[in-house]
Symmetry: C2
Subunit: 219 residues, 2 copies
């Protein structure tokens, strides 16, 4: 196979032509349009778990701000290890939280060998634990593994405009070739929110959505 | 990181407890229920491309039959190489076809650096090409790269029962926590079909569906 690999390398270089990989629909914002934010698998850590994984007194390094005020992606990553396999380089999102939370994709369940329920962020009841490995140690979390339930962050003024309230479940209309309706999308109203519908990468890919797409609430 | 890797190995072994990774909803078949078939990325090869990749006179080795009569998964895999990256061990489905066709997931577009349209199997118009690498050589396909459009295989008798016709586009009702409606699902009627709705892995994961799930046609 060495020859094959060498061949592959040559070919890879030869075909590097910078084709644009963007598949997101590029809709213009319109009245009622809610911007989509696409999440890959990620981890939120408690202060205690952060120290176990990265060392005493360690502080997270901000890589970039996220759309929700105060939230940021970190330089740091961890390895998530389940009974059947591991996923490396899973991004940590800061700041630290009261409890560690591991948000994976449905497809990751097979690889890790863990059965994650679909849950709203922060609702750890009934979620399984998993092993996290960092450069300075590992932790076996008691719980916190979930597939994030899709939700929409908004301000009270947005909620009024859309005629919805915090905790309400709505349906999303998705346009395009892979369009349709996504039920059970939870409204999350806070005083500091960027209007954004959070879907995970599999949901976005399945529906032909990207980070420049928009969706609409329907009932 | 050596210490960390050793630690990880130990932990991996310690936590091997055989947790079931099944996330599919386990519905009982009911009237109007259509079984779901979930496809991962895969490749169909022309006889010509098969020979270029595996050698003159090479024949595909059946690994297992698929639900559609005559179709089978092969022992053989290829590496799919785009301008930005490669995906190894992509399964070949047999038998050989008139033209090679590379069915990828929307998420693969980013990794490969290729912009694949959503297309019905067999409709290669406007699809880009890509490089396939096998143990005996490589081919740069002229076209054939697509994200498979969801569709339902059925017999004429099924079509009559559901009140649909070949080529018609229908909506699918999906139950459960991640449920909703999937539009633009194409009916494919042939004299030799197993009744099955083909979704790709991202569509199935996004909607909480697995290979023991069912969906229903709605209009």
């Amino acid at each position: 196979m060495d020859q094959c690999e060498a061949l592959m390398k040559l070919i890879m270089e030869a075909v590097k032509n910078g084709t644009d990989a963007k598949t997101a629909s590029e809709e213009k914002p319109e009245s009622g349009a809610i911007p989509v934010g696409v999440s890959n698998r990620h981890v939120h850590l408690s202060a205690e778990d952060l120290e176990k994984l990265f060392g005493a007194g360690y502080e997270l390094t901000k890589l970039k701000d996220l759309s929700q005020p105060g939230q940021f992606a970190c330089k740091e990553t961890v390895t998530v290890c389940g009974p059947k396999g591991a996923i490396e380089k899973v991004r940590i999102l800061g700041p630290v939280r009261k409890a560690s939370q591991i948000e994976i994709l449905a497809g990751d369940c097979f690889k890790l060998g863990v059965k994650a329920p679909v849950k709203l962020s922060g609702d750890l009841e009934g979620t399984p634990g998993i092993t996290l490995v960092g450069p300075k140690g590992s932790v076996q979390t008691k719980n916190g593994v979930m597939i994030a339930q899709r939700h929409i962050h908004m301000l009270p003024s947005d909620a009024e405009r859309f005629g919805v309230h915090d905790g309400e479940s709505v349906c999303l209309e998705v346009d395009g070739m892979r369009g349709g309706i996504l039920r059970n999308t939870v409204i999350r109203v806070t005083e500091q929110s960027g209007l954004e519908c959070h879907l995970d990468m599999e949901e976005a890919n399945a529906m032909g959505l990207g980070s420049s797409s928009t969706v609409r609430i329907v009932r």
